[in-house]
């Protein structure tokens, strides 16, 4: 490694990496020298800068408030909405517990009971646990990173509105008595053959929300990779950021299999394509696989970010750096990987070969190692530090105790023969609630107490917090500890009532009483959260004496995120960099101004966080809400089998997104570079791998490819699981047409790639010709792909084999369709002068998309036309 040192600028422990001259790259001095940082800022200049910043970041007022996209607004809406859904799901649980309090009860009918427990599970998982992670991260991650906002604020807002619409739709169904009632994992054939619309509501409503989750994951990953403050290398970034990175990655690989499953499931429900119908070659087990490939990692997707909150609270409570930073990173990454090898432990009783069960049992035991490592790291930090037993730390302690208990029963049920005994009994209900309360609910509430002064600039009541803690902690154990025994005594989950005198009566009664004690605790917590705190004095700026960057926040609140973006050289900058906050406040650091009245934040490099770009982020907009409403329509109308309005909504949603991209992304700036402060000039427009948008596309497509891979997995699954796949003497996809489609679509990819390559190297007419040819080739390719399965008259309703061919074809055609829109977008942008030889970000992004499409097409043709002829 070569170190470049600028003369006279050496600071202990900080390496100098001056920029090499580059036409469009950063130039100037980096990192800043101590002399530069020591130089005071003229107070008049600072005042003028503050006024401009305040104006640029002003939150809209009145009814326009709802057009805000800033992370501090969207994050609050998001978390409060998720919290309300949690309370609603909690009320459902109370009703369930009332019904089960005594034997032979008729408080709820069997049908309503089914709806209630299904919605309790579905809402807690999809409307609370995962969205809460996204909400909290959107709210606090930029502050951890000293960033002004997330890289794509409108995407967060769009994700939020999608979540709100989808959540209200799914939750609302319960008021009409048509809610999903086949259990939160929707097993076929019960769910596929169910006559009501409950299953459709579940599938479409929650798919819609999953799309929002993936959008948030993309946003958060790019945020961690590209929006860190200068100097915050990977080895010193806050542990929360590491967890977000791991969890974002897990979402990309866990949610898509469920989306693929939903796609197949809805095709069966709406069009009678027999993916899960064994009489026509289908197999209900495929759903179980796809669901749990999602479902088990999801448990860790819920757990890791919550334990990440503990990783922020524990060092503050111990007043020292975390012990074993590398160990915790190991633990997060290791858990992330291993959690994908556990899914079959939900399927131990389905009759898979014992040796297969053995693999999953072994992996389920192995995941305890990295999970345990982080708990030991916390314990070690607390042991070597001077612990202040603050209220947040009380909740974290409760979390650790409950989670360890849940982990121990987890080790038990990971052993297949034990699981055979307790499968689908209340033992499992007790186990999963121990892990989820300990792994999610307690640390998140601890986090709310901890971060509340940062979020609302007021403190929550210490006294009410302790009451809430002890009520919830005691109530929780009262409810769920006896359930282990209820389960061992054989009570199955999901029964709406039970006869008396078989030893379950008093256990159920105790659990029901406990549930109301938990509810009392939550009532106190909820009241504390929303009660008016106007007369309370402002809390201290750093009330817990923490060391991380979010506590440099301002009281009273300013909406600019940070006054200036600091240069970070420590894991706990507030402890180790004594003048940091004063210099941030004075505007001594980067981007202290908004000269052009634009919202700006800094993009840095992935590994060492060297400054690379001043990113102009988008401001308030209504288009995100419209896009969400129409996307909602496209998902919600099909539940009623109203396809024309759904298609119109889909078209309008696409129009909104195009308008949004056209008007506010990849704008050509008025100047190439701007002064970022401290002698550094940074480019405003970058493209390709340097741009946040390119990373967004890359990460999105990784998730998309996972969904596609899940469909391909389905093909191989049918082949191993079914003797009649493909059926004797069946027609196959027409190979000549398939090859033609392949040639045309690869040609379209080449034309797209060529357009990007030639742009700037060749005459723009050549680029234009390429971009005109590309969508034409793609459209012809789509037609050939469809005719390849249409010409042999493959009827998808007759057997799963033609259905699978059609499903893969539809998937690919839809993706190519999106690719055509992108090609046309770039063509228009080229004509309108939005793309020039130097300003080519959209071309880079769509080329990246087309790389993935090219791969998808190759695999689709191989699997539909090639492989079945070989099997």
């Amino acid at each position: 490694m070569t170190d470049h040192i600028l003369p006279g600028s050496r600071r202990p422990g900080v390496e100098e990496t001056p920029f090499e001259a580059e036409a469009h790259g950063p130039e100037g001095i980096y990192p800043p020298t101590e002399e530069m940082l020591r130089e005071p800022v003229d107070p008049d200049v600072a005042k003028a800068q503050e006024a401009r910043l305040r104006k640029a970041w002003k939150t809209p007022t009145g009814w326009r408030y709802w057009s805000a996209v800033n992370n501090s607004e969207v994050g609050v809406w998001y978390s409060m909405t998720a919290f309300v859904f949690m309370l609603l799901a909690g009320i459902l649980a109370l009703a369930v517990r009332v019904q089960l309090a005594v034997p032979d009860n008729d408080f709820l009918s069997a049908d309503r009971f089914n709806q209630f427990f299904t919605m309790h599970g579905s809402a807690m998982m999809f409307l609370f646990a995962v969205p809460m992670f996204e909400a909290i991260s959107i709210l606090i991650l930029p502050a951890f990173l000293g960033a002004r906002d997330m890289p794509f604020p409108r995407l967060s807002a769009y994700g939020y509105w999608c979540f709100l619409i989808g959540g209200v739709f799914v939750m609302g169904s319960i008021l009409f008595g048509v809610a999903p009632d086949a259990g939160w994992f929707m097993y076929p054939p019960l769910a596929t053959q169910h006559s009501g619309m409950g299953s459709d509501i579940w599938l479409l409503g929650l798919s819609f929300i999953e799309v929002a989750s993936i959008a948030a994951a993309v946003e958060l990953i790019v945020g961690v990779l590209k929006c860190r403050p200068p100097g915050m290398r990977v080895n010193i970034m806050p542990l929360y950021a590491w967890y977000v990175l791991v969890v974002g990655g897990m979402i990309l690989f866990a949610f898509p299999p469920l989306i693929a499953g939903d796609f197949l499931f809805e095709l069966e429900r709406s069009f009678d394509w027999p993916f899960f119908d064994p009489t026509r070659g289908g197999d209900p087990m495929l759903w179980q696989h796809l669901f749990w490939i999602f479902g088990h990692p999801e448990v860790y997707i819920i757990f890791l970010p919550s334990i990440a909150i503990a990783a922020m609270v524990v060092p503050t409570a111990a007043q020292r750096p975390i012990v074993g930073y590398s160990w915790i990173v190991l633990s997060a990454v290791g858990t992330g990987f291993l959690s994908f090898g556990l899914w079959v432990h939900h399927m131990f009783t389905t009759g898979l070969p014992t040796i297969s069960l053995g693999f999953f049992s072994a992996a389920s035991e192995a995941v305890v190692i990295p999970t345990g490592v982080q708990l030991f790291a916390f314990a070690a930090t607390l042991m070597v530090g001077k612990v202040r037993m603050s209220l947040p730390m009380l909740w974290i302690s409760g979390a650790l105790a409950i989670f360890v208990a849940g982990g121990l029963t987890g080790v038990m049920v990971a052993i297949a023969p034990f699981d055979w005994q307790v499968h689908d009994t209340y033992f499992i209900v007790a186990h999963l609630h121990y892990t989820l309360f300990g792994g999610m609910v307690f640390p998140v509430i601890g986090g709310v107490y901890y971060f509340y002064p940062f979020i609302r600039k007021k403190k929550l009541s210490d006294r009410m917090g302790r009451w809430a803690f002890w009520l919830i902690f005691a109530g929780f154990n009262l409810t769920f500890l006896p359930m282990h025994l209820t389960g061992l005594k054989g009570m199955p989950r999901r029964v709406f009532t039970y006869p008396g005198d078989i030893g379950w009566d008093w256990l159920n009664l105790v659990s029901s009483v406990g549930a109301f004690v938990i509810a009392a605790g939550f009532a106190i917590f909820a009241w504390d959260l929303v009660r008016p705190k106007g007369r309370q004095a402002d809390p201290a700026r750093n009330p817990w004496g923490a060391g991380t960057l979010e506590w440099s926040h301002e009281i009273p609140e300013e909406f600019w995120g940070v006054r200036s973006i600091p240069h970070i050289t420590s894991r706990y900058p507030l402890w180790d960099q004594p003048d940091l906050v004063a210099r941030m406040d004075a505007g001594r650091f980067y981007l202290p101004d908004a000269e052009e009245g634009r919202r700006e934040t800094m993009i840095t490099s992935v590994i060492d966080a060297t400054p690379m770009q001043v990113l102009r982020v988008t401001g308030p907009a209504w288009v995100t809400i419209w896009a969400a409403i129409f996307t909602g329509g496209a998902f919600i109308f099909p539940t009623f089998h109203w396809y024309p309005p759904a298609i119109i909504c889909g078209g309008l949603a696409i129009a909104c997104v195009i308008y949004w991209l056209w008007t506010s992304t990849a704008e050509i700036p008025e100047k190439e570079k701007k002064d970022a402060g401290l002698g550094l000039k940074l480019p405003i427009y970058v493209s390709g791998p340097k741009a946040a948008g390119w990373w967004g596309v890359w990460i999105t497509m990784l998730g998309d490819s996972t969904a596609f891979a899940s469909l391909v997995f389905g093909v191989f699954f049918y082949w191993t699981a079914r003797p009649d796949f493909p059926p004797e003497g069946t027609d196959h996809a027409a190979w000549a047409l398939s090859l033609l489609a392949l040639a045309l679509l690869v040609g379209s990819w080449a034309a797209t790639f060529g357009a990007r390559y030639l742009n700037g190297r060749s005459h723009w007419r050549t680029v234009m010709t390429s971009l005109v040819a590309a969508p034409l080739l793609a459209a012809a390719g789509c037609a050939a792909l469809i005719f390849a399965v249409r010409v042999p008259d493959l009827q998808p309703t007759t057997h799963v084999y033609p259905a699978v061919l059609w499903a893969l074809t539809i998937w690919t055609v839809v993706h190519v369709g999106a690719g055509i829109i992108m090609q046309l977008y770039c063509l228009a942008a080229l004509l309108a002068g939005k793309i020039t030889p130097r300003h080519d970000a959209p071309l880079w992004n769509i080329t990246l998309y087309w790389h993935f499409i090219c791969l998808t097409v190759i695999v689709t043709v191989a699997v539909t036309a090639g492989l079945p002829r070989l099997l």
Binding site: G25, T354, I355, F359, T604
Partner: protein, 132 residues
């Protein structure tokens, strides 16, 4: 634009091998896991029936390959961590050396977890003699 080196590319060039090392250990575990699961599923569904000895031997061979790979990664990561040079295991300073050794340390620890995980995955093949 050809001769210049933007930060991302320079850093990736510098740390390409360590990023590779970090993922390679768990990736070896994952591939071994998927291969073992797929082999067992296909053998038990489409195989000749009876003894699963060839399957078990195959899994054994795959385990040897995976463990060999993980050991190699672990050894390279240990060298990158370079622990015995300064006995540093915090890597908390803002300089290239700490970042480099941190990535080595994380890769080394992940190699250990992957090693244990792979041994666990292989255990059923050691003990279980039939598909049923």
């Amino acid at each position: 634009m050809t001769k210049t080196q933007p930060s991302d590319e320079r850093e990736f060039a510098e740390e390409q091998s360590s990023l590779f090392k970090i993922t390679l250990g768990p990736l070896a575990w994952a591939l071994h896991f998927v291969a073992s699961y797929a082999a067992a599923a296909v053998w038990c569904a489409k195989g000749p029936g009876g003894s699963i000895l060839p399957l078990r031997l195959g899994i054994g061979a795959m385990t040897a390959v995976a463990l060999g790979l993980i050991l190699w990664v672990g050894w390279r990561a240990w060298q990158q961590w370079d622990f015995t040079d300064d006995w540093d295991y915090e890597h908390a300073r803002a300089r290239g050396e700490d970042r480099h050794e941190f990535l080595g340390h994380a890769a080394f620890l992940l190699a250990i977890v992957s090693f244990v995980g792979t041994c666990y995955t292989a255990l059923p093949a050691l003990y279980i003699g039939t598909c049923r």
